[in-house]
Symmetry: C2
Subunit: 428 residues, 2 copies
């Protein structure tokens, strides 16, 4: 499954490794946060569950192999390579930081050690899977923090980069601290709480707003959230209030949230509905939520869509997947690239987290009194254990964010520094 | 399939329509570009093929229905509604503009007319499917224009918002004018040309760069693209040049592209390789490509990844899906919302394109001498015809972009204006 969901060069290189007799070389690749996204002090890692599922199921169908054979770039490649693809399975090892862990620039978050073809082909998929969910979990944590304890529901599937990205974005947003999502498939697949009641079309489908509200209330009872801004939010609030209980609350999706929410609060309170909540949605983000709170808006819950589902102010980040060592014919060689502003560090690594800093070390070092963040996830192609689910990752994130004093400095161990210097010397 | 890939409120509303006896009401919804993305003068519509596939296959599995029944929000909903979901199929009509058509703010690009439940549930998926590919096709057209005839290859799957978004983004980028993609699955599924040869890991996997280059050349022959910047791009260029033909060219992925590309050009020319091309990749976008061309960089082809695959400077756009009319119990009612800065226009529409402007009209108007852009795609739940494929959409886009004098003004017909005024009056 998903064998072709990669960049062509992963497959031409795989053919090359095969044809040059490197099939049994064991390569170690690291997926590293090269640079933090714009305006971020950390990233919350997410997407590991999807990355691991991909590796465990990675394979090629006969049709896919036939397609490859027909590409001109494979013209000189032997039939034996394509036969290898037929039985292709990932048989290597994976180490990764737990989902929900905050990480910093320069830190590896996932390490793959496998026969070189098996380590090379997954590059593209692993980068996309981890990068996207990490961006969204990070954005969610910021929005949730801005909301200061008021629940935030993820509403963004319609603006996500494909419907499927909406599902996985909802998962990541939940890990980042959202109370839930409007995406039903995310609820079904990942056990995430789902929320949602009615849109403007519900109101428009009845001759009067009052009838629409009455019908919704008798359908949903105490789950009723009346959307009050189809025509006029103040009139809408009066109509919702006139219907009394049962009601969860009202939602405002446009207009001046500060002014409107206060007027609506008064209307609800005067109708004896002081328990009824006010939810706001519509082009919200962490900055606007902070402003609304400072300005004294009477908002009890936030629905955040577009900006969260696309991480709109930082829709991309510099993650890389680079070879750090190679065991070939019994000899181990440490690898790096020196490309301008894009150099990499050789050797398999570990990240130890101390209370006030992270220590980037060689993988075999031991440091007492600190957590080793990269832990085995897949060994010899088999999952070590059931991975923590989205709820556990959400808890992990909340604990780290409570515990961390702020962004941590990333130091290098003396052994790692020595390896870097030695490897550079050998290349010169 | 994909029944749960929607927002929960689409399904609670569906239940509400069912329970309030509206199942046979016929609703018309329009998917409209409310606002253009930041820094865009038009959008190139894309994603229709995926939207139509979704509608034709839309259904619910028994497990999914059981999950819904267990949600508290459906506590008062009758068993009959869930039985209806078992046989749920889309039986309505869809009109849409052809993929690759440039459109402007305020214009509908897809219209759904169906029994109200069937028109409501697809809102979320249709918005995500069309919005994402439209963003990427639009970004691609800008990048391709900046490249001024030099081929642009889409390289962005690793930074796309999920691997699947990489596949569909590659499709959209091709529609927008890219020469092809590095995404193999996009090639397999959509017949898009695929490109790619080797990454830094290929070079690092051999003891010397020279050996890596020699091996790649014997593997790929005239398709060889040597990646020359793993250690030092000038040394890399000398090594590639020393190997002579066969070679397609070299790729530079870091450093000062202007200076390095010129030095590399000289090295290749002096080695008698004036046919060998220079490709540049690495954090490129339309602005940087334009600057490189003005500065006289010797670059023959561009690989564009992150910024294209995420439309990084404009990762979202304001598309909406709103009910515009409703046929209920034999009576037709035109619907709109008045929400502040988010109002909508009533009545099913058509867009006529004249040489120097677009005319937004009611759907039943006729205007000679202009193209009606919204054409039937699905009638009674069945595709009217095979949709144009990605290559045809790419051709359509290129023709429109050549023909259009610039952004078109969107005018409203007198009949549409009258309907808007009348509908507003009736609400007041």
């Amino acid at each position: 499954m998903n064998g072709l969901l990669t960049d062509l060069y992963e497959l031409t290189m795989a053919a090359g490794y095969f044809e040059t007799g490197k099939s049994s070389d064991i390569a170690t690749f690291e997926l590293t946060v090269r640079r933090l996204p714009k305006d971020r002090e950390y990233v919350l890692v997410a997407g590991l569950e999807q990355a691991a599922e991909y590796l465990v199921n990675l394979s090629f169908t006969p049709d896919e192999i036939e397609y490859l054979r027909g590409l001109p770039v494979f013209g000189r490649v032997s039939r034996a390579f394509f036969e290898t693809l037929r039985d292709f399975r990932f048989t290597g090892d994976v180490f990764a930081v737990a989902e929900g862990t905050p990480m910093f620039a320069g830190e590896p978050v996932l390490i793959v050690r496998a026969p070189i073809m098996e380590a090379q082909i997954p590059e593209t998929y692993l980068l996309a899977a981890i990068t996207f969910q990490t961006l969204i979990a990070t954005k969610a944590a910021r929005v949730v923090e801005a909301a200061g304890g008021r629940p935030v529901v993820e509403f963004g599937t319609r603006r996500a980069h494909t419907p499927e990205a909406g599902v996985l974005g909802a998962r990541a947003a939940y890990i980042g601290g959202c109370a839930g999502t409007s995406n039903v498939l995310a609820g079904f697949r990942f056990g995430i709480p789902v929320f949602g009641t009615a849109a403007h079309s519900w109101v428009m489908s009845f001759p009067t707003e009052m009838e629409a509200f009455r019908r919704l209330q008798s359908l949903l009872g105490e789950h009723t959230v009346q959307l009050i801004d189809t025509y006029d939010p103040i009139e809408g609030a009066r109509r919702a209030a006139a219907l009394g209980k049962p009601i969860w609350g009202v939602r405002i999706d446009s207009g001046d949230f500060v002014q409107v929410s206060r007027q609506v609060r008064t209307i609800l309170d005067q109708a004896g509905l002081s328990d009824a909540k006010i939810m706001a949605s519509g082009d919200l983000n962490e900055y606007k939520i902070r402003d609304l709170r400072s300005a004294g808006a009477a908002i009890d819950a936030f629905g955040v869509g577009t900006e969260l589902a696309t991480s709109a102010d930082a829709p991309c980040m510099g993650t890389i997947y680079k070879m750090v060592e190679l065991l070939s014919g019994g000899a181990r060689r440490y690898t790096l690239k020196l490309s301008e502003q894009k150099h990499t560090l050789p050797g398999a690594k570990q990240v130890y987290r101390f209370p006030d800093h992270d220590l980037l070390t060689r993988s075999e070092e031991c440091h007492n009194g600190a957590d080793a963040l990269l832990k085995p996830v897949i060994i010899h192609g088999r999952p070590v254990d059931r991975l923590p689910d989205a709820a556990a990752a959400r808890k992990n994130a909340a604990e780290w964010l409570r515990r961390l004093p702020g962004p941590l400095e990333v130091r290098r161990s003396p052994q790692l520094t020595a390896l870097i210097e030695e490897t550079r010397r050998n290349l010169a």
